[in-house]
Amino acid sequence: MKRYLIIITILLTYMFYLYGNTRVPIEEVDIIVGFGYDVMDKSNGQIQYSVPFNSYIFKPNEEKLSVTKTGRGKNLTEAEQDRDSKVERKYISGLEMVYVISEKYAKMGIKDLIDERFRNTEANDMAYVVVCKGNSEDIFSFQELGYISTSDYIYGLMKNIDGYNFFSQNYKLIDVFVRMDSKGRQVLLPYIEISKNGLNLTGLALFNKDKMVKKIDIKEARILNLLREDNVKGVLSIRKDNKKYIDFYAKSKNRKVKCYKENGKYKFDINLTLTGEIISNTLYEDILSSKDVKEKFEKDMKQQVENMCNEFINKMQYQYKIDCLELGRYGAAEFGRLKNVDWNEIVSNSEIKVNVKVMVESEGRGDY
């Protein structure tokens, strides 16, 4: 028994040794940390694909640097080949942190690039995918103080995205894989742009199938997220005037969607529970000691959130006409995944009701 074990171990080690990567010193290696995807109009009416990438270079004195290089071509494959030819050192992929897709590219459709990534066994499924304004090349060449590369910065931005604004963490490559062709599901990606304060998250890019349809700003994005995601956090406020306002740091819990048919029409109920703490309050007096005041606040907040949600749903149904809340998913689960049913249209024409429950869980350490 023991002998076999030893033999097997030796064999395995040998195989690993044989087929593993050849070892190179770190100074001779590039690590690609971010991929970008742009398209550009050329003067002759054709379009040109350009694929920049952001990589680390290790210097002998242990310093880390990041450089951006770009490959160009008539289509994605060509561009990628061009990119590969520009890498002069051995590079390690699979460590990429972000994919940055330019808005224009996204509007043309991201199917080809997702397809390529899906085939590539070395692609990092856990890398974040974001849509940017302008060209991704500009984003990569933007230098943020204190960060080695923009990719690190965007990665950090995405990693912390779920603390506020009701964002979730479902913006990874794998989430795009899962959502793009699923019945009743829609891709939704964060939208970043360079503003005067640096690189910012400014909203969400709504997709229909593989094409980006619309960018919504951060205020709408908050409500969209609140309606779409479960277990997310963000600040909700009631503001009466400049000085009188209350801020409520809410966590959404137990989001439940019910779908049923009434008189041949689809109806959706979205139930949300918001629990959380009051982080600043100058509007309600005695909220610490009096339960009535607390209940009044909970009622007011419920009213306000429901109004906000209804407003957004209206807009979604009449303007965007996409089921960005993924309600179709619940409909499909209830009534079967029928063929040729366009959930975008059904959702846009059905009745959607939002019920919100607000609960104040903690009061902080006092109320000044």
Binding site: L288, S362, E363, G364, R365, G366, Y368
Partner: protein
């Protein structure tokens, strides 16, 4: 250290236990309860509130002289018969359980606010109850040992709080007699919750080795507790002033935050650790006493299961009725007067009846 042997406790240990039972986590909020009524003279109210444990203690002294071997549960059964006696005892148990839940919920809220906001309440409940259950299952001797450490912690707390003397001002406490006597007395009535549970001396006096010393035990523990409460109230007003205390939830924690002692940077965590310890000790004692009462009502055969069930019950109640500070305060607002009046009359009636009856009720029963 001497071995934990024998069931009886020494008089000194009894003092620690009595201090432990009365002194709960409410030391941090006693000023908040009194200041709205008695203003800067609240510390006098805290002092006067000591009459309550003193009265109960003196009753206990007389009763214990006549019936040194029977606790109040047996007495009540002997006076009112088995059924009514048991019901009364059970009600007494319920009052203990309410203090139990209130204490557990308060420590959870405080630790979630100041130390571990990322832990869920349930986790904190379970961790604290596990410790308390283990201590309680080991018997009164172990409980008294934890009470002794609690006593040391308390002394440390008071020594630490001396550090704030430099920063506050006597002006905050004056004018000393600026508030009418009526208000002072009204506020001292409100301190009943803080002084509650002296009644449990009736449960433990038969377990004390030298039952003749009960008088000194009662006097010592009452005096100590009065001094602690008065000091904490005084120092809170001395530092924060009466206008700021109502804005806080736990005044003493705020005081301890601002204490500056050279070379100790994270004093706040030391204070919070002591507070946590105080609370765990209270939970252990209440756990133990509940077992004691249940055992008296119906002989417990399988101790672990009962301990487990009590734990589940307490967690259930805490999770559903004591979850937020508002819920807790609302319940206590109604419950405390009822509990206090019930406990007082329960103790007084039983002691008076047993003292006034000339013949030995216990002895008579046994002869039959």
């Amino acid at each position: 250290m001497n071995k934990l042997s024998g069931n009886k406790i020494t008089p000194n240990e009894a003092v620690y236990i009595l201090i432990g039972i009365m002194l709960d986590l409410n030391i941090v909020s006693i000023a908040n309860a009194l200041v709205p009524i008695a203003k800067q003279t609240s510390w006098i109210s805290a002092l006067l509130g000591g009459v309550y444990p003193l009265y109960v203690g003196i009753l206990a002294v007389f009763v214990s002289r006549k019936y040194p071997k029977d606790n109040i549960l047996t007495l009540s059964k002997n006076i009112f018969g088995n059924i009514i006696g048991n019901i009364l005892n059970f009600l007494f148990l319920i009052s203990l359980m309410i203090y139990f839940c209130a204490g557990l919920s308060e420590v959870t809220i405080i630790s979630r606010t100041y130390v571990v906001p990322f832990l869920s309440s349930l986790k904190i409940y379970v961790s604290i109850l596990l410790l308390a259950a283990y201590t309680a299952s080991k018997g009164l001797k172990t409980v008294s040992r934890i009470c002794f450490f609690n006593f040391i912690g308390l002394i440390t707390l008071i020594i630490i709080s001396l550090g704030i003397l430099r920063n506050g001002s006597l002006l905050n406490v004056s004018p000393v007699f600026g508030v009418s006597l009526k208000k002072i007395i009204a506020a001292s009535r409100d301190s009943a919750y803080d002084y509650a549970l002296m009644e449990t001396v009736f449960l433990i006096y038969p377990l004390i080795e030298d039952s003749k010393k009960i008088k000194t035990i009662v006097l010592k523990s009452t005096a100590f507790i009065v001094i602690v409460y008065t000091w904490i109230t005084f120092i809170s007003i001395y530092y924060l002033g009466i206008d700021i205390i109502p804005k806080t939830i736990w005044a003493f924690v705020e005081v301890s935050r601002d204490i500056e002692i050279k070379n100790i940077t994270n004093l706040r965590y030391l204070v919070l650790f002591i507070l946590l310890f105080i609370s765990i000790k209270s939970m252990s004692i209440l756990y133990y006493l509940s077992l004691l009462i249940l055992d008296n009502i119906k002989k417990i055969k399988n101790k672990p299961i009962v301990i487990f069930l009590i734990g589940i019950l307490v967690i259930y109640v805490c999770k559903n009725y004591f979850k937020t500070l508002h819920d807790r305060n609302e319940i206590l607002e109604y419950a405390i007067p009822v509990i206090t009046i019930y406990n007082l009359s329960y103790v007084s009636v039983i002691s008076l009846v047993s003292l006034l009856k000339k013949d030995d009720i216990v002895g008579k029963k046994q002869k039959k």
